[in-house]
Amino acid sequence: MANFDFGGIESPSNYQEKALCVLLLDVSGSMTVEGRLESLNKGLSDFYNDIYNNASLSDALEITVVTFDHEVTQVVPPSLVEDFSMPLLQSRMGLTNMAGAIEEGIKIVDDRKEYYRHHGISYKRPWIILMTDGLPTNEEHEIVQATQRVHESMDANRFHFFPIGIKLTDEEMEFLKELSHPNVPPAKLDGLRFSDFFLWLSNSMEKVSTSKDGDKVSFEKPTWMDGFQT
């Protein structure tokens, strides 16, 4: 085969399609025991670095960090890693306004999608990850409403909602199961393997980000999960 030099070709500057990951993180009082918060902070730092060092993912993945105790705080708005530094989370020994956090997470997703649409940016279905080490301290009707929002939104394919239990009892995991949509049941973290979880999450976000329309995405084995059999 003779050699032909396909020279002089330029590439169009196409904007990378976006993927959004919303982290709803429990910073209530119980997270200060057994080094839970320290492990979470280490996991978040590893997550950030993993994405930062991944050329295509760092261009595509927008991350939002929301912390909740009795209040809900958006500590990082939807941003590419180059546009923020991962904050060190702290606890004020507060309660657990989980319902408020979920409502905030859903609002962030809706607002960001509106932004994407307004600017003609194509995007993948967002992920909302809830990480909690306890039951909510909300009123029952607030939990019912949040559960309903999650279920309806998942039925309409508006986002994926994935709750992770940290050191929860079986009974507490049952609560998370009620909250979750049947399509995506909750998982329990094996001990405090936050870093392993976040590594799995960044790999998963990469698969989502590079998947094609209509594709089903196959995720890696969740070895960070309590009870996972290899």
Partner: protein, 354 residues
């Protein structure tokens, strides 16, 4: 703890936002009218074998013996290159293409892109590209006038769809495969001296170059707002009333055309402006614009390749395959399968392209 089969922990999740009820309308098709010069004779290469049609290769042999080939008319090359992600996941290339030349200046080119998630979509794409190109070349040989007018093309596109759907359903039954595992998109171009007709279902991209040298999009890929496309097997398409123009798109260019290119979406980021920042409005727009700084240099090199190899299609295809695999950084880093058919009308080559 048990996980449902749809948990991200155990199997697969769809990444697209799928709104099955509302489907965004595409822009209306437009026409251009013009005249075309007849072409000189060209050695016949690949021909769709029609009933009772002799394959004429005399001119080719005589001209080769004389040490010279006219090598005029349309030059086409196509290839599929497997994407990096498919290699990683151990999935075969799910793109397919077909070229059927009826004679030097008319024929059919088809590209199909198998649905990524569907297990046997590689078989579906191959089957559909074969059947579609065969069917269209038969129509081109027997009643070419149907490609000249919008109404008849829409009708024909629906006939093509119905034919392919039935054939695919029979194939699925024979092979004992689930019908929807064969899902794929389709882009078909029927080229004639005076007309270029494009029919498509789903996404991918297509471009043509007018005789002044300017490149234009030949179709708008079919996508919802959130990136969901459709396949030959999609239920919403089948359930729509004939002629299904919401889903089966067609366009006629009633003009002489210098080149046309059709491709699966794995090639689009390297060759089209798909999603760019409009510097004036500071908004992101989806211009669906073929990038001349890609197409012009590629065409210039392909002209050299065709002139070097003349009728040796296999050699031209090898060069083209290598280009799709790694010819630009964007092509090289593309994770999806890449298929592109590049057609050049040698009649309109400018003197500096010869």
């Amino acid at each position: 703890m048990t996980n449902s089969s749809n948990s991200p922990l155990s199997t697969e999740q769809s990444s697209a936002d799928e709104t099955e009820t509302t489907l965004e309308a595409q822009k209306e098709i437009s026409h251009e009218a013009d005249t075309v010069e007849p072409k000189a004779d060209e050695p016949v290469e690949e021909i769709a074998l029609l009933e009772d049609e002799p394959v004429d290769t005399m001119d080719t042999q005589e001209e080769k013996v004389a040490g010279k080939s006219e090598h005029t008319g349309w030059w086409l090359v196509g290839s599929s290159a497997i994407g990096a992600m498919h290699v990683q996941k151990n999935i075969p290339c799910q793109d397919s293409y077909a070229i059927k030349r009826l004679d030097k200046d008319k024929g059919v080119a088809v590209v199909c892109d198998g649905a990524g998630s569907k297990m046997h979509s590689d078989l579906g794409a191959q089957f559909v590209s074969d059947k579609a190109s065969e069917w269209l070349s038969q129509v081109l040989a027997t009643r070419p006038e149907v490609f000249d007018e919008e109404a008849s093309v829409q009708q024909l596109s629906n006939e093509l769809y119905t034919y392919l759907y039935e054939q695919l359903a029979n194939y699925a039954t024979e092979q004992e495969l689930a019908f929807d595992t064969l899902g794929c998109t389709l882009i078909a171009v029927i080229y004639q001296p005076h007309t270029l007709t494009c029919i498509h279902i789903g996404d991918g991209r297509a471009a043509y170059q007018d005789i002044d040298g300017d490149w234009h999009a030949l179709m708008n890929p079919w996508n919802t707002e959130e990136g969901y496309t459709i396949f030959l097997t999609t239920k919403a398409v089948h359930d729509a009333p004939a002629p299904r123009t919401e889903y089966i798109r067609s366009r006629i260019i009633n003009a002489a055309v210098a080149s046309f290119v059709i491709m699966s979406d794995g090639c689009e980021n390297a060759s089209f402006e798909c999603l760019i920042l409009d510097k004036e409005t500071k908004k992101y727009i989806q211009p669906n614009r073929p990038f001349p700084q890609f197409f012009n240099p590629v065409k210039a090199t392909l002209v050299q390749v065709h002139r070097h190899y003349l009728n040796e299609d296999e050699e031209v295809t090898k060069v083209w395959t290598k280009f799709l695999e790694e010819g630009t950084p964007q092509l090289k880093n593309e994770s999806d399968d890449k298929t592109m058919v590049f057609a050049i009308n040698s009649v309109f080559l400018k003197s500096d392209e010869n």
